[in-house]
Every structure is written in structure tokens, then in C-alpha cells.
């Protein structure tokens, strides 16, 4: 996509054995780009070894927000060829690409050779040997810096900042490594120049992962109690929350399993404290029974599901959007609840915060879908704006008389008494109940409470946040997508627009309750609908069919993980169709 609006970005893949330090180098590169006033992201991938196997870092940098990986890498630096074929599918290369590799690593693997990329041997190891205390990743970093035109001063100040605590020696060795790398490729010149801004952006920028962002969103939304059971790739949400909650007077408790963590969160919320837990597919499956309890007892709770490859244990370290079904429909009984999806790394913050607000406002379950590719990717972004969405529960204030916890109200929301409130004593129950909360199997009670639990989420005014809509006003084609597929879809749409196509992108943030009218307005006038999702069984498409009236001409671009949807795939589908 050479003349893409995003062609002002540079994409770099770094691969190597555990010792090579590709992730550190990648992080430094991203940090240096940030220092130079750029935006960017870094995603990671690793082999099956628990520690020390091969790993890869994927960095993309540019003068404005970068939300996803590009179609191909401009530069691939391979410190060695250890199991590189395992990454091959994740590192698309083309004849414009440059591959830097160490001749001492042996023959270039066929899969790399066949890409048509320009292969440039650089004796990274040998160069490293000459530097006392030198590390090969620093030499590689230097080479990369030169190949993309990163100013020398920027790199030096970045190293200084990062290696602050490592001491003078380490800093010296690193600087020497970088210099050696620069010189080694000096002859090649700049092969793919960074688009550097004249002056750094004036906005406050953050370096944050999606999992940290989800944690921050929870805290901004008012969550102060979290129960946790670790699971890849959700663990970092919890690991970020534990120390940070503590600082602000909140609490994270490690539970014995997910059955406990969800129940602890429900207990905390019953106690009046906005509560949350985070997990991934297998853990979510275990939580479903008790999520139904929260819903039926109208005890608000938020669950963040950081999706990974499924089904079952699946592919824990890779991304997929295939928990959509369980999130939408995984509860037994008629169980209306809120399902949202974050559409970018940074949006993990807003979406989580908003979902806390929604769950609390409606005293129901809020399920946030994130995924590995959002959660574990670090981005440089503008500081997410402060949004006015906090937990604001409708509580029953003392004095209370004849308190009816499950009173059937017009809005469907009933004031909730928090323990400590005299006169509010009631029993929260997962059995169907009468308005005062006594178990009931009467048809009128069941109907009234089912209606109430549905009504409150249907009547809520969700405003504009239900979706993010970009692109043409009078589109020929609307692309409907959600979650991490949004980035590549938007990039493709921008490109298509540059090609003269009229494309609009509707990325749903609120999946349940379905916003039928708003959706149908958003797609009005378009003859064609393209659905994009990272699943094998077209879960998103089936959901769209079930809830919305779609135009006659619908196509679906769906693919399971682990590979992310690439902008180019979407674009070729658009072109093919036009």
C-alpha cells in the first residue's frame, strides 16, 4: 500500500532467539520514535517456549495515531533464524522490504528468500564482539535507526532515559553498539524515512498497552474492588490494577479460581463498591453461571474479556475475536446484559470506563471485549480525554420504609440499598423473585422482573458512543466491524477513499443491547455491506443478521486468528467488489 494515507508510517519486525533481546530493542525503537514526536505501536509474538525461545517484536511508527500493523514490513531485522518459519506468516514481506540478517546465522530461510525482499547481510554478532559489554540488539537498533533516518540525538537521549538505572557502563556500551550499527549500514542510506514532525506534538502523549488502558478505564469509571485469577492475555489488566488500586484506597484480591473471582466481585458490588474482574475465554466460561447471578440479582459488575485464540485452551498467546458468541449469548435463561467492545488499544480505556458507568447505572452486567492484539500491544497515543462517565448507582437512601428492592419501575432501574443503610435490609437473589425480593415462581412476578431487567437496558440513552463511524456520508459500501478489526478496516477505507470509492465504516462499540434504529440509520442508503471480523464461524455476521435488517448485498471477510486482519485484505475485497 505504497500510496496509502498511512504510507507515512514505517514498519519494522525484529526477530531472534531469547537472548537476542528483540523486545528490548523494539521498545527502545518505539520510545525513540516517541521522543522524536511520533506515534506508534509495538506488538509482540513468541514461540512455545515458556522463556527463552524465539521471539518477535513488530513496531510501526508514524506522524499520527497508529492503531494497527501494516500489510507488510519495511524492514525485518533477523538476529538469527531460530524457528523463524514460525513467525513467517506474521511477517509479510514484499519486494519493497529490506531484510537485515547476520551472515553468521547461516543460510537465509526459503520463506524469507521467496518474499522477494532485498536481503542485506550485516555481521551484527561480529560487530558486537568488538564492543566491551556490547549487546547485539543495540547494534541492530543502531542499524535500524540509520535505515529509517532517526536523528542521532533522539536515540542518544532515549537510551539515556531508559538505561538511567543501569549505570554508566551499560549506557556507554549501548551507545557504542548503536554507533557500530549505524556505521555498518551507513552506505545503504535511509531506506524508509520516518516522517518526522517539524516540532513535537503539543498534546500530552502516553505510552500504554490495551491491558493497562482497560485498568485505567476501570479506575476512571470508579472501580475500587477487583478480584483476580491470572490468565493469558488478561493478566496484565490485573497486574496493573493491583498496585494502582491500592494507591488510591481500592483493593485487588487474588482468588482461588474464576468461580471465586466473579463471586468476590459480585460480593464487593453488593457491598456498594463498583467492582470488576478481567479474564480470557476459559475463565469467562467458568464465570457465566455467576454472571447470571449478578444480572438476576441486579448487582452491577464488569467483566473484561481479553480474547485469545479458541476454542478451549486454544492459542493462549494469540489474538482472535471469537468470544463474541459467549459474550452475547453465553448465559442460561433470558439474560439481557451489556456487551461492549474496545476498538483500539487506547479505546480500551474509554470502553471500560463507559461500561463501568453503564453497568452501574443499570445495575446489570457489563461485559467488555478486548483481545490479545489490543491488550498486549503498546502504543504511543494522545492522552485519552477525560470523559464524564463514572459509576453513579441509583441508591436507596435512608430513611427507608417498606423498601422494595426489586420494585417494578418505569425505567426498570430500582433504587438499591447498600448495606449500612437502615431500613434497606433486603436479600439479593438469583431465584426469580417478587418486587420485595422473595423467591417466586409466579408467572406475573417472572414476567414483571424479566420485563424490568430488559426494559432498563433498552430504555437507557447510550448517545453516540454505541459506535464509531468514519468515512463517506453517502456511501456505496458500509463496512461493519468491531474491536481490533477496526484499525485495519479504517486504514483500508481511507485508502479506498483515496481510490475514489465511497466507503463508510461503522465500528460497533455497543453490541448488546443492539441499537437497531441507530444502526439502520448509519447504513441507510448503502447498497453493500461488508462485514469484517476475526472469527472462523462468522459470529459477528450471524449476530448482525439476528438483530438488524441488512441490505441485500452482504459480504463477509472473516478469518480466525492468530494473524491479524490486514488493511490490504479489506482493500482488495473492496476493489474486487467495485
Amino acid at each position: 500500500m505504497s500510496n496509502s494515507p498511512q504510507s507515512d508510517t514505517v514498519s519494522i519486525a525484529l526477530t531472534g532467539a531469547g537472548g537476542a533481546g528483540v523486545v528490548t530493542a523494539g521498545q527502545m525503537l518505539l520510545e525513540a520514535a516517541a521522543t522524536a514526536g511520533l506515534y506508534g505501536l509495538m506488538a509482540r509474538s513468541s514461540g512455545p517456549q515458556i522463556r527463552g525461545g524465539e521471539s518477535a517484536a513488530f513496531v510501526r511508527m508514524g506522524p499520527r495515531t497508529v492503531t494497527n500493523l501494516a500489510d507488510a514490513f519495511d524492514i525485518h531485522i533477523a538476529f538469527d533464524w531460530l524457528n523463524v518459519e514460525r513467525f513467517a506468516a506474521e511477517i509479510p514481506l514484499d519486494p519493497h522490504s529490506v531484510v537485515i540478517c547476520d551472515p553468521s546465522a547461516g543460510a537465509v530461510p526459503e520463506v524469507i528468500e521467496n518474499s522477494g525482499a532485498r536481503i542485506v547481510p550485516v555481521p551484527l554478532k561480529d560487530l558486537t564482539k568488538e564492543i566491551p559489554g556490547g549487546r547485539v540488539n543495540m547494534v541492530g537498533l543502531g542499524a535500524l535507526a540509520n535505515l529509517i533516518g532517526l536523528p542521532e540525538g533522539t536515540m542518544a537521549s532515549t537510551l539515556k532515559k531508559i538505561l538511567r538505572r543501569k549505570g554508566e557502563e551499560a549506557l556507554k556500551a549501548s551507545n557504542a553498539g548503536v554507533q557500530a550499527g549505524r556505521q555498518a549500514v551507513a552506505e545503504m542510506g535511509v531506506v524508509r524515512a520516518l516522517t518526522l514532525p517539524d516540532k513535537p506534538p503539543q498534546t500530552e502523549r502516553w505510552s500504554i498497552t490495551g491491558n493497562e488502558a482497560a485498568g485505567m478505564g476501570a479506575v476512571r469509571g470508579g472501580v475500587r474492588f477487583v478480584a483476580a485469577y491470572p490468565i493469558t492475555p488478561a493478566t496484565e489488566v490485573l497486574e496493573w490494577l493491583a498496585p494502582n488500586l491500592e494507591k488510591i484506597g481500592g483493593l485487588l484480591v487474588q482468588a482461588e479460581d474464576e468461580l471465586a473471582s466473579i463471586n468476590m466481585a459480585i460480593g464487593g458490588s453488593f457491598g456498594g463498591v463498583p467492582s470488576l474482574t478481567a479474564t480470557s475465554g476459559p475463565g469467562l466460561a467458568l464465570m457465566m453461571e455467576s454472571i447470571g447471578l449478578a444480572l438476576t440479582s441486579e448487582t452491577p459488575v464488569v467483566v473484561v474479556d481479553v480474547m485469545r485464540g479458541g476454542p478451549s485452551t486454544g492459542i493462549p498467546t494469540k489474538s482472535e475475536q471469537s468470544d463474541l458468541n459467549i459474550a452475547l449469548y453465553g448465559l442460561h435463561g433470558d439474560a439481557p446484559h451489556i456487551v461492549t467492545a474496545a476498538n483500539s488499544v487506547a479505546d480500551c480505556l474509554f470502553t471500560t470506563q463507559w461500561t463501568v458507568h453503564l453497568a452501574e447505572a443499570m445495575q446489570t452486567v457489563g461485559l467488555v471485549l478486548s483481545d490479545q492484539s489490543l491488550g498486549q500491544t503498546r502504543t504511543i497515543v494522545d492522552r485519552p480525554a477525560d470523559e464524564p462517565f463514572q459509576a453513579q448507582r441509583l441508591v436507596a437512601e435512608a430513611p427507608l420504609e417498606n423498601y422494595r428492592r426489586y420494585a417494578v419501575t418505569d425505567s426498570g432501574v430500582s433504587p438499591m440499598a447498600i448495606p449500612g443503610t437502615p431500613g434497606g435490609e433486603y436479600v439479593a437473589d438469583g431465584l426469580e423473585h417478587s418486587p420485595i425480593g422473595r423467591p417466586s415462581s409466579q408467572t406475573e412476578d417472572h414476567m414483571a422482573q424479566l420485563d424490568k431487567r430488559l426494559r432498563k437496558i433498552l430504555l437507557h440513552e447510550y448517545g453516540d458512543h454505541w459506535a464509531e463511524i468514519t468515512g463517506a456520508d453517502a456511501p456505496e459500501t458500509v463496512i461493519v466491524t468491531f474491536g481490533s478489526s477496526t484499525g485495519p478496516v479504517r486504514e483500508a477505507a481511507e485508502e479506498a477513499t483515496a481510490w475514489g470509492l465511497k466507503v463508510k465504516v461503522v465500528s460497533l462499540r455497543l453490541l448488546m443491547p443492539a441499537q437497531t434504529t441507530k444502526f439502520e440509520e448509519a447504513i441507510a442508503g448503502a447498497d453493500r455491506l461488508l462485514v469484517v471480523e476475526q472469527t472462523h464461524s462468522r459470529q459477528f455476521y450471524r449476530y448482525l443478521r439476528a438483530y438488524y435488517d441488512l441490505p441485500r448485498d452482504v459480504r463477509v471477510l472473516n478469518r480466525p486468528g492468530p494473524l491479524p486482519i490486514r488493511p490490504g485484505e479489506v482493500l482488495s475485497m473492496l476493489k474486487e467488489w467495485s
Binding site: E212, I248, E256
Partner: protein
């Protein structure tokens, strides 16, 4: 719920709701309900600052019959639910009630970890050695040769679960047992357990007159523990491993520290966000 907003003492009856229990006439759980409300009156717990949490089962219906806050959760998860309540709201008195199936079968893992975690909860199990609510299947505490259930027509063939021994091994700090036929003794034990800091575990033999009518005989067989409670885990271990299941009283009180959540540092959101800023 009567008013009693004044400084008057609350009676046991005032801790009961006006909702009629679904239990069979003669069920032991009636006495346990009385004992719990007596203990509440004894301690003059504030109703609004007390929560009774349970799972599912006949015995788990207790919360609805009290006049304090309550949560009737799902089967087996009462201790986890209660842990959340207590950690989020440390000033509340949190009592957990349930049955042998709820607590030791499906809920066994939370039992282990509640004992270990030592959050200040009081756990009262009405042990009737049967699943009453689902009409009479063997529970973990059922004798291996009991043939009363169609699911296990020749008995379970499995040694009954020893809740007190497991509680001790898992780290519980207060362990006692009573018989529902002696509601005053039950009330006393429950009050002690509530006052004990940290997790306390009370097993109450509570007959299921419908599916285990032979349990009416407990009246004859239960007896006060022949020895004083010990605070030595080794000694308690020996005793509880050879216990006849009918010893009544406080059987172990240890001195482990109560679970203490960390104190906040008074930081603001801005302080936290600072870390993300380039």
C-alpha cells in the same frame, strides 16, 4: 421487620423476617435459624451492618428468614461472595450459612481457601448428611453405606468427608460443632464464632427429617467434647483425625493473623496517570 429505631435492645425475633420458611415441619434448620438470630441478639448486631450470605439448598434459604442484609447466591459460591462483601466493606459483620452439599461438595474449593485466607467471616454449615433440596442424594458427609438415594443405590462406597479435620488442615482458626437440637448451645457457639477475629467455622448437625429421619437419633448420640479446646494444631490434628463426629463444642482456636488488605497511599488518579506520560 419491626421498627426499633430507638436504643432499645433488639430481640432475637426482631432479627427474623416475617417470611415463612419453606422447610418441612420438624427440619433442624428451624432451630439453627433461631440460634443465629439469638446470637445476633446476644451481640446486638446492627441489622443494617450485618449480612447473611448463602448458596443454594434448604439450609441456604436462611438469609431470607432474617431481617438483616442478605445474598442468596448460586450453589457452592457463598464463601467467595461473602469474601467480596467483607473485603469491600470491612465494617460489616458477615455470616455465611449453608449446607453440607453446598459447602463441601460443589463449594469445597472455596471452603479450603476461606479457611486459609482468614478473612473475618463466620461460616455456619447445617450438616444433614444429605442434599435435602434436590430430594435426598448423598452428600460428602453421608456415611458410605447409606442406601437411601437412587443415585447411589448401594451406598456411596466413599468415606465421608471430615469437615473439621479439613478445616484445620486448611488453616481455619476457629472450629466448633453443635447440634441443632440444642439451640442455646448453638447460639452460644455462633456468637463466639462471630466474635472470633478471622474465619470461623461452625458445623451444626441439623437433621433432615424428610430424607434422613434416622437423624432424630442424634439427640441421643451427640455429646460434649471430652477435652478442652486446644490451640495446638498438631494436637487438634490428632484429635480431629480420630473424631467421632459427635463431639460438641469449640474444638480448636488458633492465633493466626486476620487477612489484612493493604492501606492506601492517598494517591490521586492524576498520580497514577503520570506513569503513562511520555
Amino acid at each position: 421487620m419491626d421498627g426499633a429505631q430507638t436504643d432499645e435492645k433488639l430481640t432475637a425475633k426482631q432479627y427474623k423476617s416475617d417470611y415463612r420458611p419453606v422447610w418441612c415441619p420438624g427440619c433442624g434448620d428451624f432451630s439453627v435459624l433461631s440460634a443465629i438470630t439469638k446470637a445476633m441478639a446476644e451481640l446486638q448486631l446492627k441489622r443494617e451492618d450485618t449480612a447473611v450470605i448463602s448458596g443454594i439448598g434448604c439450609s441456604s434459604r436462611i438469609p431470607a428468614y432474617t431481617s438483616v442484609y442478605g445474598f442468596h447466591g448460586v450453589h457452592g459460591r457463598a464463601l467467595a461472595l461473602a469474601t467480596g462483601v467483607k473485603l469491600a466493606r470491612p465494617e460489616l459483620t458477615v455470616i455465611v450459612t449453608g449446607g453440607d452439599g453446598d459447602g463441601f461438595s460443589i463449594g469445597g474449593n472455596h471452603f479450603l481457601h476461606a479457611c486459609r485466607r482468614n478473612v473475618d467471616l463466620t461460616y455456619v454449615v447445617m450438616d444433614n448428611q444429605v442434599y435435602g433440596m434436590t430430594k435426598g442424594q448423598a452428600s460428602p458427609t453421608t456415611a458410605s453405606e447409606w442406601e437411601g438415594s437412587k443415585l447411589t443405590p448401594h451406598g456411596t462406597g466413599v468415606n465421608p468427608f471430615q469437615p473439621l479435620a479439613v478445616a484445620l488442615a486448611a488453616g481455619a482458626n476457629f472450629i466448633g460443632r453443635q447440634f441443632s437440637g440444642d439451640p442455646n448451645a448453638c447460639a452460644k457457639l455462633i456468637a463466639e464464632a462471630i466474635q472470633h477475629p478471622g474465619f470461623s467455622f461452625v458445623q451444626i448437625l441439623s437433621p433432615c427429617v424428610t430424607f434422613r429421619p434416622e437423624q432424630r437419633e442424634w439427640k441421643q448420640t451427640v455429646h460434649t467434647a471430652p477435652v478442652e479446646p486446644t490451640s495446638d494444631p498438631g494436637r487438634a490434628g490428632k484429635r480431629l483425625m480420630s473424631d467421632d463426629g459427635l463431639n460438641m463444642g469449640v474444638l480448636y482456636v488458633g492465633g493466626r493473623p486476620v487477612f489484612q488488605p493493604p492501606e492506601g497511599t492517598g494517591a490521586t488518579l492524576a498520580d497514577i496517570e503520570q506513569k503513562f506520560t511520555l
